[in-house]
C-alpha cells in the first residue's frame, strides 16, 4: 500500500487490490530478490507478482475486456464455484478456473479459445434454465452480469422445455426493510453469503437445501441485520437482491454516474452519485483501497435523502415581521449587514461538515467583511464528539463515531472547538451543511443560519430569533476537499448541478464583499 495522503477522487492514485481477502494466495518471503515470473496469456507474455491468480494477471494488464465471473469478487475470499471464468491452460487436462488458479512461471493460457467459449456457453445455458428473465421489471436490468455475459457468451436459444422452477414464497421476500430478495433470479454465486461471513462477519445469510432447491435464507427470524446490506445489492450479479430505496425508481440506463464523497461520517467513503436530470437516485460505493475498499454503510448510502428532502431550504430567507420570506442574496446580505454592524458581539460557528476551503474562507473573510472582531470556532456535536480525538471506529469495517466528514480538516485551519458546545454572543452565525449538530443556545439567541438547513430544523428556533438563512450547497453539488479520520485529504467535484437558489460559500462571500 502506498502512503498517499492526498488525492483527487477522480483519479485515485492507488493500485487495485486484487488479492482477495487481502491475503496473497501464497506469499513469497522475499519477492523482490528474484526476477518476476512470466505467464503467457493469449499470445502475450506478462510479468506477474507471485501469488496472483490468472484472472488477476489478466485484469492487471487488461487482457481483453474481462474474464467473465459470477462468484469471484475482489473483496471476498475466492470460492471457484460458478465455473464461468474457466480458461484453457496448456498441458492441463481440463479447463481451469482462472479466479482460483495461481499463475505459474511459464504457464500458457488461452482465455478465448473455442473450448473455453463452448464451456461458457454451457454455463450460461444452465444458469438460464430456471431464470425468470423478467428483465423488464428487474431493477438490475442494464447493469446485470447475467444479461451482459449472456449477450456475449450465451447460447441464444434454450434446450430446456420443462416448467421453470419458481420459489413461490420467495419471489418478493423482504430480507429486511432495506433489501428485497427475489430467489427466482439468483444464480447461486454465494457472494452474498461470503460477504456476511467474511466481510461484515455477521453470518446473517446462508444457503439451505441443495441443487434444484438451493435457496438463500436469513439465519435469524429478524432477517438481515448488518449495517452494510446495501453492498449486497451492489455486487449481487443479478437482480436477486435489490435495494428497497431504489426499487422501481429508475431504470439503470438513464442514470448519470459521477464520483463524489459520502459525507455521512468521518470515513469519507468514495461514492458514485447516480442521478437523472439532476435528481439523485442512489449512492453506490466506488473502490478505493485506502479509504473504503469496495464498501459503504447503509446510513451513508441513504444519506442523499437529506439533500433531496423537499423541506430543505434552497433559497435565501430573510426575516420580515417575524416570519421568513424568500429573497435575493443581495437583499438578505444588506439586511444582515445592518444587524451585524449594530451587534455588540458576534460569534461564527463553523460546523465540521464544512469543506477545508469553506472553513478557511469563513475564518479569513467573514470578520473582515463585517469589519469586527469575531470569535470563530468549530462545532461537531454528533454522537457526543467534540474534537477529532473523540472519534473512534464503531466496527471492524467503516463506520465511525463522528458523523461529520471534515473534523480534522476544520481543526487544521487553527480553529478551536466551541467552548461547552454553547454559543454566547449577540448574534451567532451558524454555518453547517446538514451533518454537524446545532449548538446549545439561550432562548433569545439571535442567529444567522448558513449552509444546509431544513424547515424542520428551522422550527427548533423561535422564528423571531432567525435573522436570515443563507442557503448553501451540498457535498455532491460543490467542489472542495475533506480530511478524513485517517488524515487522508480527498478532493471532490460537483456530481450534480444545484437547480435551486442556494449558493456556494465562495459565491456568497463574493456578493457580500461587493455590498460594502
Amino acid at each position: 500500500m502506498s502512503n498517499i495522503t492526498e488525492f483527487d477522487i477522480k483519479k485515485p492514485k492507488v493500485d487495485l487490490n486484487y488479492a482477495s481477502d487481502k491475503k496473497p494466495v501464497h506469499s513469497d518471503p522475499n519477492p523482490e530478490a528474484k526476477p518476476l515470473p512470466k505467464v503467457t496469456i493469449d499470445g502475450k507474455t506478462y510479468d506477474f507478482k507471485p501469488g496472483d491468480t490468472i484472472m488477476q494477471v489478466a485484469e492487471r494488464y487488461k487482457v481483453h475486456e474481462e474474464i467473465p465471473r459470477y462468484c469471484y469478487h475482489p473483496g471476498m475470499p475466492i470460492a471457484g464455484t460458478c465455473r464461468m471464468c474457466t480458461v484453457e491452460v496448456e498441458k492441463a487436462p481440463k479447463l481451469m478456473t482462472s479466479c482460483s488458479t495461481p499463475a505459474a512461471d511459464g504457464m500458457v493460457v488461452h482465455t478465448r479459445s473455442d473450448k473455453v467459449m463452448k464451456s461458457r456457453t454451457g454455463v450460461m445455458e444452465f444458469l438460464l434454465t430456471n431464470h425468470p428473465l423478467d428483465c423488464p421489471v428487474c431493477d438490475k436490468a442494464g447493469e446485470c452480469e447475467l444479461q451482459d455475459y449472456n449477450y456475449e457468451y450465451g447460447p441464444g436459444t434454450s434446450n430446456f422445455k420443462e416448467e421453470k422452477r419458481v420459489f413461490e414464497h420467495a419471489t418478493t421476500k423482504k430480507l429486511s426493510d432495506k433489501v428485497t430478495l427475489n430467489m427466482n433470479r439468483c444464480v447461486h454465486c454465494e457472494r452474498c453469503v461470503r460477504f456476511t461471513d467474511d466481510v461484515t462477519k455477521t453470518n446473517d445469510l446462508v444457503m439451505v437445501n441443495r441443487g434444484w432447491h438451493k435457496e438463500l435464507e436469513a439465519t435469524t427470524e429478524a432477517g438481515l441485520t448488518n449495517e452494510y446490506q446495501g453492498c449486497l445489492t451492489d455486487f449481487c450479479p443479478v437482480g436477486a437482491l435489490t435495494w428497497n430505496d431504489f426499487r422501481f425508481k429508475k431504470r439503470s440506463w438513464f442514470l448519470n454516474r459521477k464520483p463524489s464523497l459520502c459525507d455521512g461520517c468521518s470515513k469519507g467513503c468514495n461514492i458514485e452519485v447516480h442521478s437523472d436530470s439532476e435528481i439523485v437516485y442512489r449512492y453506490v460505493p466506488i473502490y478505493n483501497e485506502l479509504v473504503n475498499g469496495h464498501w459503504m454503510c447503509d446510513a451513508g448510502r441513504s444519506s442523499y435523502t437529506s439533500y433531496t428532502n423537499p423541506l430543505r431550504v434552497i433559497a435565501p430567507l430573510m426575516k420580515h415581521n417575524d416570519a421568513l420570506h424568500s429573497t435575493s442574496i443581495q437583499t438578505l446580505l444588506t439586511d444582515l449587514q445592518v444587524h451585524l454592524k449594530n451587534a455588540a458581539s458576534i460569534q461564527l460557528v463553523v460546523g465540521t461538515d464544512a469543506t477545508r476551503e469553506e472553513a478557511a474562507l469563513l475564518k479569513e473573510k467573514v470578520p473582515t467583511i463585517i469589519g469586527k472582531n469575531i470569535a470563530v470556532s468549530y462545532f461537531n456535536g454528533t454522537n457526543g464528539v467534540q474534537t477529532s480525538a473523540d472519534d473512534k471506529k464503531l466496527d471492524e469495517l467503516l463506520k465511525m463515531k463522528d458523523l461529520t466528514p471534515n473534523t480534522k480538516g476544520v481543526e487544521e485551519q487553527g480553529l478551536s472547538p466551541l467552548a461547552n458546545g454553547e454559543v454566547n454572543a449577540d448574534i451567532a452565525i451558524l454555518f453547517r451543511n446538514g451533518r454537524a449538530g446545532i449548538p446549545k443556545m439561550k432562548a433569545d439567541q439571535k442567529v444567522v443560519l448558513w449552509g444546509i438547513w431544513s424547515q424542520d430544523e428551522l422550527k427548533s428556533f423561535p422564528s423571531k430569533n432567525i435573522l436570515g438563512v443563507i442557503a448553501g450547497l451540498a457535498t455532491i453539488e460543490k467542489e472542495g476537499s475533506y480530511k478524513n479520520a485517517d488524515g487522508i485529504v480527498q478532493k471532490f467535484h460537483p456530481a450534480i448541478t444545484h437547480k435551486g437558489g442556494a449558493l456556494s460559500a465562495h459565491q456568497v462571500v463574493g456578493v457580500w464583499k461587493t455590498l460594502n
Binding site: N184, F248, F254
Partner: protein, 168 residues
C-alpha cells in the same frame, strides 16, 4: 456553372388552349352526373360518416387492460427508452399488496404515464418495444384538442375502454 434551362417548348395543341379546357370540362361534367344523378361520391359526410382505416393505422395511443381493468403495463420504461421523440414520461412504483392479486407478475406499476401527443411522431416504436403488449396505437385519428394540456395523454385517458384497436 451556368443555369440549365429545363422548360420545354409548347406544342401546337397546348398553344391552342381550348382542347385542355374541354378535357377539364368533360371531367367536371362526368363527376357532376355521377354524383347528382347516380349519387356516387368520392367524398364522405364527415363527421356523421367516418372512414374506415386499416388495422395497421397508427393513431391515438391506449394501454390495454386485463379483465379486472388493471393495466397490463409494468412500467418497464422500454417505450420511454425507445421513443425517438422523448414524449413518454413514466413514474413507477410498487403495487401495494391488497391491489395485487397477481403476485410477482404485476408487482410494479406505473403511478403516472404521460404521452405528449404533440411531440409524438406516431412511429409505433413504443408498441413494438413493449414486452407486455400494453401500449398500443389505436385506429383513432381524431386527435384535435382545444388546449395543449389535453394533448398530454395521462394514464386515465390511456386506459379507456377499447374494442380491439377501435374506440368503443
Amino acid at each position: 456553372m451556368g443555369t440549365i434551362n429545363v422548360s420545354k417548348k409548347y406544342t401546337a395543341k397546348e398553344k391552342a388552349y381550348l382542347p385542355a379546357i374541354l378535357i377539364g370540362m368533360k371531367i367536371t361534367m362526368k363527376r357532376f352526373i355521377q354524383g347528382f344523378l347516380f349519387r356516387k361520391h368520392d367524398t364522405i359526410m364527415y363527421p356523421e360518416k367516418k372512414r374506415d382505416y386499416s388495422d395497421r393505422f397508427r393513431g391515438m395511443h391506449f394501454i390495454s387492460v386485463d379483465k379486472n381493468k388493471t393495466e397490463n403495463c409494468t412500467a418497464c420504461y422500454l417505450c420511454e427508452t425507445i421513443c425517438p421523440a422523448e414524449c413518454i414520461h413514466i413514474v413507477a412504483d410498487e403495487r401495494d399488496e391488497e391491489h395485487n392479486p397477481y403476485g410477482v407478475k404485476k408487482e410494479k406499476k406505473p403511478v403516472s404515464f404521460d404521452i405528449d401527443a404533440l411531440r409524438c411522431c406516431f412511429c409505433g416504436f413504443c408498441e413494438e418495444a413493449c414486452p407486455k403488449d400494453a401500449i398500443k396505437l389505436s385506429g383513432n385519428y381524431e386527435l384535435a384538442v382545444s388546449s395543449r394540456e389535453e394533448a398530454i395523454y395521462d394514464l386515465d385517458h390511456l386506459k379507456r375502454d377499447m374494442n380491439g384497436r377501435r374506440e368503443k
